[in-house]
Symmetry: C2
Subunit: 431 residues, 2 copies
């Protein structure tokens, strides 16, 4: 492997000042560049807070790509050995994905170097192993930026055992999906909404992970581990993306007094973990119903009451600020460790939860006939609307199994395209 070390601009300060904490950045793309710039611009403010930071080295895939942010970094290299040859006080990982991020983060932790990451895929799949490794090496592994990047709450709960007694959570975790549904609800087509989200930098060039729900499932996995002390793999979580949503669904949802949102939900009150990622109908009074665009939020149901945390979900500047706050915490609180998950058990998540349902039956058959047919199978509609030649309904509680049988019967009888999405109540419990 070749390694190229870029030359510092002549007027740059020396990369590693004595007394400064030395940061090694894994990645110098959008987020990495934002972090390097923010670290540089925040020097005076952080000095007032008693610390001094220096970005000594960044490991990148290709050193030939021009990177303006390299001006704020001592050395830019594509050689991991050269990266780790530096004396590093903190490593910040912003490569994304599992490979090579996992190996590099493990290498840092294994040497006792604290790691801060924004990588939800990594934390979803290997978070517990990496936290364990950090504990064994007496160092820190922090990932506040990996989920609802602009709202600090993961570290808060880690430090607070009483607040951490949580029964379940409901969240909007994917800004791209929420941006698209918000735009489609306002009259855009799905394609135009996606293109606009990509133009504004919310959506990746390949939006599959976002619109399929996979991104939200990864984030939900890490939240379940953190709040529910249960280990699941993202693939174990029943996941439906927003691609099945029709524009008429959003108009009908509004007519039925609510909205469709890309929801991640998990609860573990019953002993069994129930979890899903899916578009869901939220009544207008639901605390997350008003979240539009790239805003994310999490509703935490706890014995002492429901809490809600809402704010920006992502974006390079938001993510960089949260990463730098994690760096500050690691630098100023070297003795604070993430506590282990108390009762880690592998549980198969189920979606057996009784729920009301939001239904679409793309038929011009009379609503009364549809309602009657559903009732025959034990699914009772509470409201039914005909919007744009399509029947939409809200139902009373039914299990997914009962619903599936009823929808299959309707599909057979009407030859209509049918779909059902869960209804989340504005108050707990849901049913």
């Amino acid at each position: 492997m070749t390694s190229v070390v870029e030359t510092l601009p002549v007027d740059a300060e020396p990369a590693c000042r004595p007394g400064a904490l030395r940061i090694g950045q894994l990645g110098l793309g959008n987020v990495g560049s934002a972090l390097a710039g923010l670290t540089h611009r925040s020097a005076a403010a952080l000095h007032d807070h008693g610390i001094s930071l220096e970005t000594c080295v960044a490991l990148v895939r290709s050193v030939s790509r021009p990177r303006p942010a390299a001006a704020w970094v001592g050395t830019v290299t594509d050689d991991p050995d050269l990266f780790f040859a530096q004396r590093l006080d903190i490593v910040v990982e912003m490569i994304g994905g599992i490979d090579p991020a996992f190996a590099l983060v493990r290498r840092a932790l294994d040497r006792g170097i604290p790691v801060v990451t924004a990588n939800k895929s990594l934390v979803a799949v290997h978070g517990e192993a990496l936290s364990d490794l950090a504990r064994h090496r007496n160092t820190a592994f922090r990932y506040e930026a990996s989920c609802i990047a602009g709202v600090p709450f993961i570290g808060t709960f880690e430090r607070r055992p009483l607040a951490s007694r949580v029964d379940g959570l409901t969240a909007i975790l994917n800004g791209t999906s929420n941006t698209i549904l918000t735009a489609v609800a306002n009259g855009d087509t799905f394609a135009a909404a996606l293109a606009e989200a990509q133009r504004r930098g919310f959506a990746e060039p390949d939006p599959t992970a976002d619109v399929s729900g996979r991104d939200a499932a990864e984030k939900l996995t890490l939240l379940i581990r953190r709040f529910g002390q249960r280990l699941v793999a993202p693939a174990q979580i029943p996941t439906a993306g927003i691609t099945g949503i029709h524009p008429t669904d959003l108009r009908a949802a509004r007519a039925l007094g609510g909205t469709l949102k890309p929801v991640a939900h998990a609860s573990w009150t019953s002993g069994t973990l129930e979890a899903f990622v899916s578009p869901a109908f939220l009544p207008a009074t639901h605390p997350l119903a008003g979240l539009s665009g790239a805003t994310n939020g999490i509703l935490i149901d706890a014995p002492l009451g429901r809490q809600c945390y809402i704010g920006p979900g992502a974006g390079p500047n938001v993510t960089a600020a949260t990463l730098l706050d994690d760096v500050y915490e690691v630098a100023t609180e070297p003795h604070v460790r993430t506590p282990p998950a108390i009762a880690s058990t592998v549980t198969t998540p189920q979606w057996a939860r009784e729920s009301g349902w939001f239904l679409r039956i793309a038929t011009d058959a009379p609503a009364a006939d549809i309602s009657q047919l559903l009732a025959t199978y034990g699914v009772w509609t509470s409201r039914i609307e005909c919007v744009d030649g399509c029947v939409h309904a809200l139902t009373f509680c039914a299990t997914p199994r009962v619903l599936r049988a009823a929808l299959d019967a309707v599909a057979t009888a009407t030859r209509a395209d049918v779909a059902g999405y869960p209804v989340l109540s504005a108050e707990e419990p849901a049913c």
Copy 2:
């Protein structure tokens, strides 16, 4: 001063086990009893988290009052000297008010004993001095439970300098006021709503501090210090309580597409601090508009986006859990200190902010006449409704000075009772 030491129940464990952290409680009333019980019940869970706590001593005003929670406390005394004669690792203050809480907390900190408190009056008036003292004595002073007790956010921001770059905040901080306005909006009288809130334990027997806005002004003071790095006294904050609200106002607010909420607001973008406590009109889409009953919330406006934190505002069990989490943080992170407010300046808060206004003019004069008269004085109505023989209007932006002149003219012309409350926009900036 006489001192009475209660005898432990025979089957109780010894009060101060070797290795356990020794808590001294200032106060053993509703919150103090809840904390003593919770500390006792949480022993196993906290042991799993690596700490062991013991409530060694509680200082009370009157030892003759029967206190079932005394069973969980080694010694109950009314003698401060006896209290401080114990070896104490952490002091938790739940007396409330300034005197004697201030002197006792100072005495603890002065000895290097960390203090955790739920006392917003104390933190509002002496928070900076006590934090300074704690820093000088190399110990901790924490007060998460003093404001929106059920939502941890104050400590979170203290640890995160980037997240702490905040331009302003809007909050619902008083559960009693919000409970009463919610009930009145649903058809209760003010008196019945207050009595019900008292019966359910939300409101104090003397609700003056709550309904006058003083409680919210104290909490706002500590939030301004924490988030705005500015020192103000609660009395400097223009404060209006909910007692001037008429039931018709709440009906009219709904007709005008929003709701009246007891709001605390501060912003410091302009360099000058602007702050007020007042009922305010929130459009239905405002993130705090849906908060009912004893739920509190804070909206934080930051350069990187708006964040919102919502949850239970008070109650003995909620407060005790948050106090115990603060105790846990102090116990496990003895090296973490509250950073000093960077730029502490005494500023006179102003309420010169241009704002839309929600107006009540208790007259049966035609709405068109009122609208015209207001316009003569430079106040333009955007919507106007006649509800229950009263004119209510929403206006476009006007300064408080212009509004006052216009309302005075209307009052003179119509001999009507008039009132104006600010309108807070669902999006920032307000005007």
